[in-house]
């Protein structure tokens, strides 16, 4: 009897002790951490916190290919010329002036004197020539740039502050291309090590308004003001790019104030950022860049070789409805590849309407009808059933695909959706191994030249992966490249757009604006044609 009671009592005590210990530990910790927030130092008002969705591979501008590196390098490195933020005119940056030869083949840049890299060494023509040589060097991983400079025969130094590019053929964008070539400091990179792995890819040195301070792998990259910058000092002293993998977490951080600028998605813009509190703390800015989405129909595959079928597909998609409901009206339907607010875009061309009846008629004329009564269109015994190939990262493509599938099945066309991991998806696209896909093109430099996407020479191995080939279009593209008179070129591009509209190699979808929230900590936040420029932002004086 005694033993059992002892037994119970001892156990009860043990249990109690364990529970009490656990409980006090937990509450103690909670107390501690919540109380802790008081001791954290306040944020520095002159620091701008930006958001990076992915970590850059490298900050070497010649090798880097991803958007994150470009965004950061834009503030560190400069190029010979720049584009005005509003008019897009070519303006001097590292070159104070330039001369173009009469035959449009020689571009001579006169460099500004007294420009210094952030380590104190002067910037000279040697840096420019060195950079060009590196870009074209077969041992350097710069294929994405080599393509742009393939028409340049040489780049040579005339004297310490003068450089000349010689083109093989005239090209109306030549000035912008060679003037926009990334330039790296020769005295840093030319040290005998492998250029691709050179340690300055992790520690860039530039001439721009900001210089690199620190890269905390996986966490953040920090820039501070460049004391040696020759131009006007920006008000913002420090820029911290935070690497956040999860976009929903990033959105929460924006609302909490841990980051100051972020691009919003349509649904976030419409439904999740409308509180008074949000408006009090953030600007909501909207502006259109040169970007558009599309559905590409692979003309090498039987179904889509016929123009009538492609047009029917466009007619079967209610683009207006998708734009209004799925994208909350934030965007515009486009009919061609040019920037909608640019001069090359022909506003006289109206988008094809949503017209399933007309689509049916077109399909019938092309030979597709339900001959065997099974609900699916067929022709010569073959059923109209194809695959829509998309990348697993694109929510929009997924939703678009689901909508398309429903619409098309009502018209008797069977469509399956295949979602692939990005690497695999790319390989399929480049291998022309798809029926239809949805992607987008983005042109941050507002260059109109359609050569790379639409010229028939680019079908094999280039970006013309849908196989569009039209002799008149080819001729227009080739002639436009040589046409330096803007008005004439615009007329050519308008005609080009008409051809595209008639042929429908893509079903052009939408151009969607950048939707950006910026913390009201900053003032003088203006929207330009090229977007936002935080170099001009001021810091609001706190009360």
């Amino acid at each position: 009897m005694t033993m059992t009671r002892l037994f119970n009592h001892a156990n009860y005590m043990t249990e109690l002790k364990i529970h009490i210990r656990l409980l006090s530990a937990i509450s103690g910790l909670l107390f501690f951490f919540t109380g802790c927030s008081g001791i954290f130092p306040p944020k520095d008002p002159y620091t701008l916190n930006m958001y990076l969705g992915a970590e850059p591979d490298t900050l070497n501008p010649i090798i880097a290919t991803d958007a994150s590196s470009h965004a950061i390098n834009l503030r560190i490195y400069e190029t010979l010329v720049d584009r005005d933020y509003d008019t897009l005119d070519v303006i001097p940056m590292l070159a104070e002036r330039w001369e173009i030869s009469h035959d449009k083949l020689r571009f001579r840049f006169f460099l500004k004197k007294g420009v210094y890299w952030s380590d104190g060494v002067e910037f000279t023509a040697d840096d420019v020539v060195y950079s060009y040589n590196k870009i074209m060097d077969p041992k350097v991983a710069s294929a994405q740039l080599k393509v742009y400079y393939i028409d340049i025969k040489s780049c040579r130094k005339i004297n310490k502050y003068t450089v000349e590019f010689l083109y093989a053929r005239p090209y109306y964008l030549a000035l912008i291309f060679c003037g926009g070539m990334p330039i790296v400091p020769k005295h840093i990179f030319d040290d005998g090590t492998n250029f691709n792995a050179q340690k300055n890819g992790r520690f860039p040195i530039g001439t721009g308004p900001y210089r690199f301070e620190q890269w905390d792998t996986g966490k953040k990259i920090v820039l501070v003001r460049n004391g040696l910058y020759r131009g006007k000092k920006p008000v913002i002293r420090k820029v911290v790019y935070k690497i956040i993998f999860d976009p929903s977490a990033a959105f929460q951080m924006l609302k909490k104030g841990d980051i100051d600028v972020m691009g919003l998605r349509e649904i976030e813009w419409e439904r999740q950022t409308n509180s008074e509190r949000f408006h009090k703390n953030f600007y909501k800015l909207k502006y259109y860049l040169s970007t558009y989405s599309y559905i590409g129909w692979n003309e090498a595959r039987g179904f889509f070789a016929d123009r009538r079928v492609r047009l029917a597909m466009t007619l079967l998609l209610n683009r207006k409805d998708i734009l209004d409901k799925l994208l909350f009206g934030l965007g515009k339907i486009v009919v061609g590849p040019f920037y909608i607010f640019g001069k090359s875009y022909d506003h006289d061309i109206k988008p094809w309407p949503y017209d399933p009846a007309k689509a049916e008629a077109l399909l019938e004329k092309a030979g597709w009808a339900d001959h065997d009564g099974d609900g699916v269109l067929d022709k010569d015994g073959k059923k109209f059933s194809f695959t829509f190939t998309i990348s697993s990262g694109s929510r929009f493509a997924e939703r678009l695909g689901s909508i398309m599938k429903e619409n098309l099945s009502k018209a008797g066309i069977r469509m399956d959706i295949n979602k692939f991991e990005w690497a695999v998806f790319l390989q399929k696209i480049q291998g022309r191994n798809f029926d239809a896909t949805s992607l987008g093109w983005s042109d941050p430099d507002f260059q109109d030249d359609p050569y790379q996407i639409w010229h028939s020479s680019q079908i094999k191995g280039g970006s013309n992966f849908i196989g569009f080939s039209n002799r008149e279009a080819d001729r227009i593209i080739e002639r436009a490249r040589l046409e330096f008179n803007e008005k004439k070129r615009i007329r050519m591009y308008h005609r080009f757009q008409e051809i595209l509209h008639y042929e429908q190699p893509y079903t052009f979808l939408f151009t969607t604006p950048a939707l950006v929230a910026v913390s009201r900590r900053f003032t003088n936040v203006k929207v330009h044609t090229r977007g936002l420029n935080f170099l001009e932002w001021q810091v609001k004086k706190t009360e």
Binding site: M3, C36, T65, A67, A143, K146, V147, K255, K256
Partner: protein, 333 residues
């Protein structure tokens, strides 16, 4: 014993060889390679055409034009010299990248393991001692429920409701340091680090209590019903002493053995928790290098984790046999 160890070591090397060969082959066979990705990024997002010569040039740079066997032999040659090569992504030595990610994962997992043990074992003991009573049943069900809640769901919910500005704001939104941490002293930095780890650790551990607690309970029950325990009680020993000194000590052995098999898990991260909480650990490193076909990093991670798993199995087998002489090692092979 020595003969056994030697034999196992040889077999391990063979297995390791097979694993690395298989990994390398699969990576090479998989559609998509690093060059397509790197250049495709530009091609798909910017107006740029990539000529086939440019692609071939790049592939040569990365050794992707060689046949699989040659490529593997290259890797093997460097591996035996402990040279893991350079990451394709940023050109830095693979060991550097792993060296950055590993400590974080290590710490996270170590803390998690400690917490799991600290909470599960007492619960298991008490459940065994009070078998079928209220505590046993309630805790059993509770732990069971925890075990069945999906990680990614709970992680997201915790992040949303505990860290965002909208609801509670007790914890940071991920990452492992606050902005000011670099300039603070070491004590605040340590505390800040712990604060950041609270939610991820909760997400990693809540589901694991069940297993260990039940295991402890089961072994304790087995031991408690043994003769020598009844003898100890009959001798009049205090119950607490009976439980902790005799019963628990004997159930400790399988628990320790278990730890050896959990060892390799210490170095793998979980992709899901790391991606939700933006923790730059091994899980994300592995995930990202697979998606970007960064062969040197993938090979390094595979090899290291394989070695550790094999070692873990070996250590567990040895400990098990040391502890229980009835089990002969020979039968284990």
């Amino acid at each position: 014993m020595k003969k056994y160890l030697a034999k196992r070591a040889l077999l391990m090397i063979l297995t390791l060889f097979l694993i690395t060969l298989l990994s390398y082959t699969i990576i090479r066979i998989a559609p998509g390679d690093y060059t397509t990705l790197k250049l495709g990024m530009q091609g798909a997002l910017k107006t740029g055409s990539i000529s086939s010569e440019a692609i071939e040039q790049e592939r040569k740079l990365y050794g992707l034009d060689k046949p699989i066997i040659v490529g593997y032999a290259d890797w093997l040659a460097k591996f035996v010299r402990l040279d893991f090569g350079r990451s394709r992504k940023d050109g830095r030595p693979v060991l550097t990248r792993i060296g950055e990610a590993l400590p974080i994962t290590l710490i996270l997992n170590a803390i998690s393991m400690i917490i799991i043990y600290i909470i599960s074992i007492p619960m298991g003991i008490v459940s065994a001692v009070k078998k079928d009573k209220a505590f046993d049943r309630v805790s059993g069900v509770f732990l069971f429920i925890l075990y069945s809640l999906p990680h990614f769901w709970i992680g997201l919910i915790l992040l949303l409701y505990m860290s965002s500005g909208e609801y509670l704001n007790l914890f940071p939104l991920g990452g492992i340091h606050s902005d000011w941490a670099a300039h603070a002293g070491s004590i605040p930095r340590l505390l800040d680090f712990c604060w950041h780890l609270v939610l991820p650790v909760i997400t990693l551990t809540y589901g694991e209590f069940a297993f260990l607690a039940r295991y402890t309970r089961a072994t304790m029950l087995e031991v408690i019903n043994q003769q020598y325990i009844m003898t100890a009680r009959a001798k009049g020993l205090a119950e607490k002493k009976v439980i902790f000194v005799h019963a628990f000590r004997n159930s400790l052995i399988p628990l320790i053995t278990l730890m050896a098999t959990l060892l390799p898990g210490l170095l793998g991260g979980t992709v899901i928790v790391e991606s939700i909480f933006s923790i730059p650990g091994m899980g994300l490193l592995a995930y990202e290098s697979i998606l970007s076909r960064d062969i040197p990093v993938i090979m390094a991670i595979t090899t290291i984790s394989a070695i550790l798993t094999l070692l873990g199995i070996l250590v567990a087998d040895i400990m098990y046999s040391l502890v229980d002489p009835r089990i002969r090692l020979e039968a284990k092979i």
